[in-house]
């Protein structure tokens, strides 16, 4: 046994062993040889790598490198299907498609973008997060693709604006989803409840549910972005979208009395009245979904991906309504995060990358996503007549909005979002401490935006 093992380990050392001959040989010579050996090992490894590259890149097909963060099961399958459709239409182009876990992609993207051979096409968030890279000159100007594909006409002005910096287009927005308050239809029927339009109606619904032993709202704030949705909506409904977006851009203060009002007059009462489930910080958003599934809770403020996670045989039991209006004088703002694609400025295959991008923005590709994923298209030419009632309703929801925000952690800087969301969950645990929490958050804001 011991001998077998020794043999195994010895294999690794075999070259060195062979050279370490005994005898009066002067030491320096042996050393020279050993150095050689180490070099040899390195060379062998390089050969292995070269071979692999040859295998995966047939000479006759041109290559587009495509890295995607669509790692959720359903979008990932659709993503892979789209690549296949493209390759069938363009047999001379091979798309080297890599899917990277969503969170990891966000970390790796700075490596991708600054590498000497970056991926050609990448998924990313529209808005501020893309703007950052555009300003650094890392994203290619694709105005020509917009022009050539007729997107300037086929895409709504809002999406075009989201992709444009200094009159040039850099981004292709392709998919977006709405946020809304999802609820159990059967529970609402049971207690004779209607979809609430105003804050008073909403509170009334909560009160009725609670009186009947059902926790009105579920939420999982273990990762606190879910709490940020409540902040986005309350702040937009109370103070209006304009104030909200200025706060996101660091132009307003967190210790402003208007911000304080959001917490003390609207958010805190919901918590203190026991309208939310107990101990939300113990759950992720999808773990908290369980309470809606088992009927112990009836409503959930969430993005439309909620329906992807809901047990397939019960998803018919849920519906959604617009976050209730608080101050009718304020314009309506909605969260509708938009994702899309761009081409790296350093792309090695810009022409083929543009061909691929043109396909991703085409009616064909968007129709596929809409049909398979139930996602809303950005291209107006997509046929929406066959949309399900749910999709139609979502579309109406966003069409009725005066302002569309991206989401807290996309609208403000990543660092501010991190501190802000952490503050929201601290408020959740200690609503009485909100004043002190906002003062601290304001200090952070000054620190963060002073550096920008």
């Amino acid at each position: 046994m011991k001998k077998t093992l020794f043999a195994v380990v010895a294999m690794a050392m075999i070259l060195s062993l062979a050279l370490a001959a005994c005898g009066p040989t002067p030491t320096p010579q042996i050393i020279e040889k050993t150095v050689e050996v180490t070099k040899e090992v390195v060379v062998t490894k390089e050969v292995v790598v070269t071979k692999e590259v040859e295998v995966e890149k047939p000479v006759d097909r041109r290559v587009v490198i495509y890295n995607s963060y669509a790692s959720d099961p359903a979008p990932r399958a659709a993503d892979e299907a789209l690549v296949k459709m493209f390759e069938e239409a363009h047999p001379d182009i091979e798309v080297q498609h890599s899917t990277v876990a969503h969170e990891d992609f966000k970390q790796a993207i700075r490596a991708y973008l600054t590498a000497s051979t970056p991926p050609d096409v990448m998924t990313w968030f529209a808005g501020n997060r893309a703007r950052f890279f555009i300003d650094k000159g890392l994203i290619m100007d694709i105005s020509d693709v917009w022009e050539q594909e007729g997107w300037n006409e086929d895409y709504p002005a809002g999406f075009r604006a989201l992709s444009t910096v200094n009159d040039k287009q850099y981004f292709l927005p392709t998919s977006w989803y709405w946020w809304a308050v999802y609820y159990r239809k059967d529970i609402f029927e049971q207690y004779n409840l209607q979809e609430p339009q105003t804050w008073e109606e909403f509170l009334q619904v909560c009160e009725t549910l609670k009186a009947n032993g059902i926790t009105p709202l579920t939420i999982g704030t273990k990762y606190p972005w879910t709490a940020a949705a409540w902040f986005d909506y309350l702040n937009m409904r109370v103070n209006g979208p304009e104030f909200h977006i200025n706060l996101m851009l660091g132009k307003e203060a967190y210790n402003d009395p208007r911000v304080l009002k959001v917490f003390t007059d609207y958010w805190a009462p919901l918590i203190e009245n026991g309208y939310f489930i107990d101990d939300p910080a113990a759950y992720t958003w999808s773990e908290a979904l369980q309470f809606m599934v088992d009927g112990s809770s009836a409503m959930y403020l969430m993005g439309d991906f909620l329906r992807d996670s809901y047990p397939a045989d019960q998803v018919g039991k849920i519906d959604f309504f617009r976050f209730p209006v608080i101050d009718p004088a304020m314009p309506i703002g909605e969260d509708a995060p938009t994702d899309g694609f761009f081409i790296a400025a350093q792309s090695q295959h810009p022409e083929d990358a543009k061909t691929f991008l043109a396909f991703l923005g085409s009616v064909e590709a968007q129709q596929y996503n809409a049909d398979v994923l139930g996602r809303l298209p950005t291209n107006l030419k997509v046929d929406t007549s066959k949309f399900t009632p749910v999709q139609q309703k979502g579309l109406e929801l966003i069409k009725g909005a005066d302002y569309v925000a991206q989401f807290y952690d996309r609208d403000t800087t990543p660092e501010m979002a991190e501190r802000g969301m952490s503050a929201f969950s601290e408020f959740w645990a200690n609503p009485a401490k909100i004043q002190a929490i906002l003062e601290q958050l304001e200090l952070e804001r000054q620190e963060i935006f002073a550096e920008e």
Partner: protein, 279 residues
């Protein structure tokens, strides 16, 4: 001691059952993982986290194998881990020998460098190492990743092997020197065999670490075709939706090589982790 004799003492019997109880508690999370791997997400959502499934399924293993791409990522894991492992052991045993058996200026400083290098939270090195790799033209190659793993593990391995090599009695080496053996032969034919238990122990630990890495893999590799199994498993985590049952199943598959190695090297592992403490 025979089993009958062992249980003849009531105290020993009591202690034994206590041990069984503690062991079972210790194994609970592992058993939960096994249980989870044969359940469905809907089952977890409707029945709770720890429950006997209404229906058993092996589908998760199939999904992990196909969608997680384990079949294509697993070979990459070996292509990365095995050369890195051997290079680490070879190079660290060289430097450990020098630090353990020679008195020369800078010995302590170098030892400090080796130990100190392992102290930095290595995540901070990600971008500098990425820049270096890219500058050398090794970005998106296995070699770049192998070189980094080798270099980074050198610190810990040198630290342990040096301590181990310090405990080898000097007389053996002295006798060999008098016989006219060169230092390299002493290293290869005397020191290395004597260090075998420590090398086996390190091989197991290092294999586990390098094999399980994925942070570096996603930063130093860009192409899916080159990525190791851990990166493949990670892609099963979505932004919002994650198939936990599939991830657990995939993770269980991915532990197989480590477990096999552990079983194979166990004898030496138990002996070898002495790490220079005895003899």
């Amino acid at each position: 001691m025979s089993t009958a004799k062992f249980f003849s003492s009531p105290w020993r019997t009591l202690g034994f059952f206590l041990l069984i109880l503690i062991t079972l508690i210790w194994l609970l999370p592992f058993l939960t993982a096994l249980l989870t791997s044969v359940r469905t997400n809907d089952d977890i959502l409707t029945q709770g986290f720890i429950a006997i499934p209404k229906e058993w399924t092996l589908q998760n293993f199939v999904t992990a194998w196909n969608r997680g791409g384990l079949h294509k990522y697993l070979p990459n894991s070996f292509i990365i881990t095995i050369p890195a492992l051997f290079a680490t052991l070879l190079l660290s045993s060289l430097s450990a020998y020098a630090l353990a058996r020679f008195k020369f200026p800078g010995n302590r400083l170098l030892f400090f460098l080796y130990v100190g290098g392992t102290m930095l939270p290595f995540q901070v090195l990600l971008l500098p190492v990425f820049r270096l790799t890219d500058a050398l033209g090794l970005y998106d190659t296995h070699l770049g990743l192998i070189l980094f793993h080798t270099a980074f593990q050198l610190g810990f391995c040198t630290f342990l092997l040096r301590n181990y090599m310090r405990t080898v009695p000097g007389e053996i080496l002295e006798a060999a020197r008098i016989d006219g053996c060169g230092e390299f032969r002493i290293w290869a034919q005397i020191m290395m065999p004597l260090t075998l238990p420590a090398l086996a122990a390190l091989a197991t630990l290092e294999f586990t670490w390098i094999f399980n890495d994925y942070l570096w893999a996603i930063v130093l590799l860009r192409t899916d075709a080159l990525k190791p199994v851990t990166a493949g498993l990670a892609t099963l985590q979505g932004q919002y939706v994650t198939d936990w049952t599939v991830i657990v199943a995939g993770a269980l598959i991915a532990t197989v090589p480590t477990v096999l190695l552990f079983i194979f090297l166990q004898r030496y592992f138990i002996e070898g982790l002495t790490l220079g403490a005895t003899k």
